[in-house]
Symmetry: C2
Subunit: 165 residues, 2 copies
């Protein structure tokens, strides 16, 4: 059976509500004087590394945003830039030793807090919750990457496509 309209509404509201309660946490836990956004950058560099343009896509931010965040992280000695030998426009990003330590510190602190919150949960509950959220994220990401005309998401491109005929 396809998704009902009311269920879609409930899902939207549940996601928005989740974002609102998360704000409180992110606010309080400025993990070691590191902003939440910068922590995210640190994570993807640690996990993937490589060119900024690819990381920006993974992070769903525009290039200027990532550029400035990397700058900040580099100034703190957490991230190293080195030229891409295959493309002199590009740069390859990686964590420094200090960056790896900071990332581990931030992650561990977050895990500790969440584990305490999830004291009443079963392992299987948490795992299936993660699966649900991942699946939703993947679905949204795929839909967002579809040719815009196929989706009512982007009015402008839709109109452009119509106008182009």
């Amino acid at each position: 059976m396809p998704v009902e309209s009311q269920t879609a509404r409930d899902l939207i509201h549940s996601v928005f509500d989740l974002q609102r309660v998360l704000r409180c946490l992110v606010q309080e836990r400025r993990s070691g004087d590191l902003g939440a956004a910068e922590a995210g950058v640190l994570r993807v560099i640690g996990e993937f590394g490589g060119r900024a343009v690819d990381l920006a896509e993974k992070l769903n931010v525009t290039a200027p945003v990532l550029s400035r965040q990397i700058n900040e992280l580099q100034e703190r000695g957490l991230v190293a830039r080195r030229p891409d030998p295959e493309d002199r426009r590009a740069q390859l990003l990686e964590l420094t030793e200090s960056g790896r330590a900071k990332l581990a510190e931030v992650e561990d602190a977050r895990i500790a807090v969440l584990l305490e919150m999830l004291a009443g949960w079963e392992q299987s509950d948490a795992a299936s919750c993660t699966d649900s959220i991942r699946r939703l994220t993947d679905t949204i990401r795929q839909a967002a990457h579809k040719p815009a005309v196929a989706l009512a998401t982007d009015h402008e491109q839709k109109e452009n496509a119509l106008a182009a005929r």
Copy 2:
């Protein structure tokens, strides 16, 4: 079995990833020149109404933030303030007719987009995803409202509590 450390880590990352893909949507769909935050305010006023202080708690924002958002919505004729007969400091909030229409418009647009994205989903998948997210949200909200000492979330209050002995 209690939640494993690795599962907690995965859950955190899945939530952060979800937030990042959502940003793209919220960005593109400035639902009828209404910001995402204002749309949220409109929703809770429509759903609960009443005093600003109570709505601020539901929305997880501070009073000044809500005050300004309500101001904006009132100027657009979407929200009405009236004095609370039982407490002359307070005000009771409600949607205008125009506000109800705008809220319905925003919600319907969002639902339409999400339904298209969830074309490959079963009703039961969406419902259980909603349940998972709601449960997570409730758990976080409860933990955040606990006496701060019980949770490692707030260092300052923890230290204050220790210092008070």
